[in-house]
Symmetry: C3
Subunit: 265 residues, 3 copies
Amino acid sequence: MAEVTLLVEETAGARHAVVTLRHQGKFNAMSRGMWIQLREVFLHLQQQALAADPLRCVVIQGAEGHFCAGGDISEYAGFRFETGSLRHFHENEVWGGLSAMLACDAPVIAAIEGNCMGAGVEIASCCDIRLATQDSRYGAPIGKLGFPMAPREAALVAQVLGPTLARSMLLEAGLYDAGAMLQRGFLTRLHADAATLKDDIQQTVARVMRLSPAAARMHKQMMRTWMQASDAMLDAQCASAYDYADSPEHREGITAFIDKRPARF
Amino acid sequence: MAEVTLLVEETAGARHAVVTLRHQGKFNAMSRGMWIQLREVFLHLQQQALAADPLRCVVIQGAEGHFCAGGDISEYAGFRFETGSLRHFHENEVWGGLSAMLACDAPVIAAIEGNCMGAGVEIASCCDIRLATQDSRYGAPIGKLGFPMAPREAALVAQVLGPTLARSMLLEAGLYDAGAMLQRGFLTRLHADAATLKDDIQQTVARVMRLSPAAARMHKQMMRTWMQASDAMLDAQCASAYDYADSPEHREGITAFIDKRPARF
Amino acid sequence: MAEVTLLVEETAGARHAVVTLRHQGKFNAMSRGMWIQLREVFLHLQQQALAADPLRCVVIQGAEGHFCAGGDISEYAGFRFETGSLRHFHENEVWGGLSAMLACDAPVIAAIEGNCMGAGVEIASCCDIRLATQDSRYGAPIGKLGFPMAPREAALVAQVLGPTLARSMLLEAGLYDAGAMLQRGFLTRLHADAATLKDDIQQTVARVMRLSPAAARMHKQMMRTWMQASDAMLDAQCASAYDYADSPEHREGITAFIDKRPARF
């Protein structure tokens, strides 16, 4: 079962939403279908955030003790080795989901447990508040798969991670525990276990719902504009960003992963 | 008594200035008059910083154990509910004061005790060195008042706070103690109490005054240009940034504060 | 003996390079000749990084327990007091070396012990991974010499240090130990002593060499573009950035250093 589900709850007359990533047996790795669902869910939430009695807050979490372990690599051999389909995947499916999250005018809270890798770091980077448990783990060891993070995705995470942490994750496949991610400023708050994380999520949702939704909307619109200042540059980068589709390292990295053997680059 | 005072002192033949924010009974909350005085004081200081025997250093502090608790909300009902007067307040009065601070070619040191909220964070973000005591507290819970921080002010603080801390302060009304603000990189140094803070201020002033004022001036001019790279974007944002003046949430937030009751958004 | 040496090693069929800064008796301070050598070494390494069997990783270190203590000030009186030769030094010699480092498509690891000051911070800021020992020390007390860091160099280090740390180093001549530099996010990892640093360097090199070099190359090209987004602004700044060549503070700062007396600004 691979799906992105949406639950809208009402507390004291105000609504908030809970989005759950679920991919059984794969630590909620994002399949192509899940990226498409993520976009649909957040387009719907944004309509609600602009409604007369607006949605006030969104929580995004993973099912069964993990946030998201990355992309679903078992699908990769089917579309990654041709430039056009690779571009479609990154620019439409993945960026479709991430950009819909970024476009949401209600504050988005990430509740992070367990694995938060690759696509998980990307999804968390689209959130406004990042709350996590001590057992959560972070990284983007994409170099092992023989290809780079796509430009829009890498610009997004580098902006939130900062230059030193982003370079460690991308260039030496650095893995970081929750304490380090708090210390480096990626996490907003850290909790000993799932129970105290849940308490903080509830309190944060309640606190956000007491604040002005119009003020939140205007703040998010402002900050979104600042992040998108470099869109022209990213458009230029993306023109040739997927030409590696049929390259030997890309094929070797993904094939080796599927074959459960070390890649030879 | 609400005022911004200026004291120029001479040590070993070199001059430095001490600017004090004072608003009795309101933890030095900035009144409109104080913003105008802040601008006048820093325009004067910049003249001194460019003089033949230049002013070398500026310290800004609050009176009576607090830095600045925000804006003087008691004035808000008088001008905030009309777009033109609201724009004038943010673009001319507040930004007039903050931009005069940013334009100062002498290094500016913030001495922060007690409350540093809203306008206090904005003023501290215009400083080059931020020294504080353990008891200082930080936040910008402006969502409680039903309106957002103005674009130029929010861009300023987000640049210094970084994206994660800025979103927490603006979107969940997050409050932070001095230890967290040191750990997140906002504070330059932290002190146990007012006495050791005062010692560090004196030593820092003396150290800055031994350095080349021309080098400081060129450094500040360079760094100012980098911060202002996004001015065109901010101009565009500000064109419609104050249309919320007469909105229900804005009226409710400020009216509730004045009535000493929780706002209902 | 002042020189930049290059050693290329092969491990398990993949090559990495070790670049060593060496200036005996001066903690490896960069002479003009060393900047030129640094450029030549990195132009050569970039050719290797683009070759069919590419170089995978570069380590840069200092000789004899120090990284780099700054520039070789003993040379300064010979060329710094005339705008044209000063511009040539910063824009061609220094930036020639630093920009060649930034242009390297293989991941670059800094191994930092002892003094890392001024030019040392600049060189370390061109690296992707910064590993250091507890005894390393950091700063850029250039204001003592009566001149500012050149615009391209200052923009580089400010981007990596962040605004608060950069302002402390440049405007109050702040010095920082290794623990503070880890806490502020400049260092990737910190080690108790040279032996454990060496172990980490070896492990990091081995880890980088197992990753896809094409992925690393594309990541570095992306991140380089983001850093260079402000080139037009820097070009404009550099047009007048060296007019201070013959200024009294510049002459006094350098002359005082050479005379081993405090500068009087």
